[in-house]
């Protein structure tokens, strides 16, 4: 089906394979540079050069993560298993760069960092002034950005689904009700009205935030319809962006257009929704809203659903094995 999606977009599947290989190669090359950077600064007498190292280390780490994330978004069209592996590698790197995006990627890849959920909920509580003792030093700087808070909320919602749906691992049996705690934080957050752009479509951050809130509301019969409505809007916006991007045929045909042909945010939200409600329910809900499975707008939803179905086989673990 996903190869057919590439045809709908008038993208040569060989080109999609080439750009995926290219991006993974670039990530591997950057990884070698990272290793060499570490070896260089470990040499005797090189201590004085360390002052400037964190920036280069951060740049190389982010470059590698960006390339793997983009490679994953292409691979989702023709090899879901490869896409999940690439997402996991990217997620681990975002973690070392201090970005909550890590949790989002690992969760949709089927390797949710369950061991971090207690800390993540505490961080969201601290940021929203709902913790007893606020230790601002413990909050990673990127998490002050509403976008990173939204990724963390979505990831936590997905992780708590795992706690509900799967046998809890040892040690988590007596954990507090994370879903209720998260809901209370999210429902009161100013991000519910947030207008800052989120993701490659520049969606107002209140949209993913509202999706997170409704993924946490087990007793609200309207949550399915509300999330389906958000997803439908996102998917139609995606189709419009792709249509605009195809105008520059030179860049489009060569997989060089500055857009996310595989939109990780929409795919991820679709994956989390499919995991939460079940594939059939969420598919029926978006269909009722007119999302046509033969249209370009359906593509990121379908890719996300594929990710969800394949990643659910990973079980309840936070070890991606990479």
């Amino acid at each position: 089906m996903a190869i057919a999606d590439l045809e709908k977009l008038h993208i040569d599947p060989d080109r999609a394979g080439a750009v995926t290989d290219f991006l993974e190669s670039h990530a591997n090359t950057t990884g070698r540079e990272l290793e060499n950077l570490q070896e260089y600064t470990d040499l005797p007498g090189r201590a004085e050069s360390r002052a400037g190292q964190p920036d280069m280390q951060w740049t190389l780490t982010m470059d590698m993560a960006s390339a793997l994330r983009e490679a994953a978004s292409w691979a989702a069209y023709f090899d879901v298993g490869r896409a999940l592996g690439l997402l996991s590698r990217a997620g681990s790197l975002y973690q070392s760069a201090g970005l909550a995006f890590e949790s989002f990627l690992l969760t949709i890849a089927g390797f949710p960092p369950m061991g971090e959920i207690s800390r993540d909920v505490a961080l969201l509580a601290q940021i929203h002034g709902q913790a007893d003792a606020i230790d601002s030093a413990a909050i990673p700087n990127p998490l002050y950005h509403p976008q990173q808070q939204a990724y963390l909320l979505l990831a936590c919602a997905g992780m708590t689904d795992r706690l509900v749906n799967y046998r809890q691992p040892p040690g988590l049996d007596e954990n507090p009700d994370y879903r209720q705690m998260l809901y209370e934080i999210a429902a009161e957050s100013p991000n519910r009205q947030g207008v800052l752009p989120f993701g490659s479509l520049g969606t107002p951050v209140r949209v993913p935030w509202d999706i997170g809130v409704h993924l946490l509301q087990d007793d609200n019969p309207e949550s399915l319809e509300i999330i389906a409505r958000h997803l439908t809007t996102l998917c139609r916006r995606y189709a419009e962006m792709m249509s605009l991007a195809t105008v520059n045929g030179y860049l489009w045909d060569h997989a060089a257009a500055p857009v996310d042909v595989g939109d990780i945010e929409v795919m991820g939200i679709a994956a989390l929704s499919a995991s939460h409600f079940g594939s059939e329910k969420i598919t029926s809900a978006v269909a009722r809203l007119g999302l046509d499975s033969t249209d370009i707008s359906f593509i990121p939803f379908g890719l996300g659903r594929d990710l969800s179905e394949q990643s659910s086989g990973h079980g309840n673990t936070d070890d991606p094995g990479f």
Binding site: F22, S25, R32, T59, S66, P142, Q147, Q148, P197, A256
Partner: protein, 209 residues
């Protein structure tokens, strides 16, 4: 004014010799228009450097230009360069950074069709605001491309030089090889330009005498 380091990724049919000759010829990197007509004039440059043509270059590169009945790319007065974007705040909002080398390699490998690429490292002077009609400054492409990801925070590092990048602003040419089986790139060689002028020459700091 800002001095911006950039990379131009190129693919050549005849390989290493052609790549080195771009430096040996002392012609710099010329726009397609100049290479097509061979001789350009000052009034011709004025006529070419317009907002409309910049829009065609960025958004309609292969469209037929009604003025010439040819693809715009064949007669563009602009030269696309990549500078990359590496900002912590932008990364926290987008989760993405763009390094110039990755973009240059994709173009230089002819979009993944070739197993090697030639990268020219150069510098250009960029104006703090758009100045399409001024030949001496490059443009930082920002708002023209309405579908561009997150345009208010990052530009994806695309720079547009005008008419040519002078020879003495090109530092060197690097050949990079792509081992697609091993999934890795390696730098094969570097060919320096002995006539290169360091951009520090433009520094606005005056030393005490």
């Amino acid at each position: 004014m800002i001095v911006q380091w950039c990379i131009k990724g190129m693919a050549f049919n005849s390989g290493d010799q052609e790549a080195r000759s771009l430096i040996d010829s002392r012609q710099g990197i010329q726009c397609n228009w100049w290479r097509d007509v061979r001789t350009i004039t000052a009034p011709g440059v004025r006529d070419k450097l317009t907002d409309a043509n910049l829009n065609l270059h960025v958004n309609h590169f292969t469209a037929i230009d009604p003025a010439t009945k040819r693809q715009f790319r064949e007669l563009t007065p602009f030269i696309s360069l990549t500078a990359g974007t590496v900002e912590r705040d932008a990364a926290a909002k987008t989760n993405i950074i763009h390094r110039a080398r990755a973009t240059a390699l994709w173009f230089g490998t002819n979009f993944g069709a070739s197993d090697h690429a030639y990268l020219y490292t150069c510098w250009v002077v960029v104006a703090p605001r758009s100045a399409v009609v001024i030949e001496g400054v490059a443009e930082e492409v920002r708002d023209l491309n309405t579908y561009r990801r997150y345009s208010q925070f990052q530009t994806e590092g695309e720079m547009i030089a005008k008419v040519s990048v002078p020879d003495n602003q090109i530092r060197d040419c690097e050949k990079w090889s792509w081992d697609r089986t091993g999934m890795v790139f390696q730098k094969a060689w570097t060919y320096p330009n002995t006539r290169f002028t360091l951009p520090e020459q433009l520094s606005n700091i005056r030393e005490l005498i």
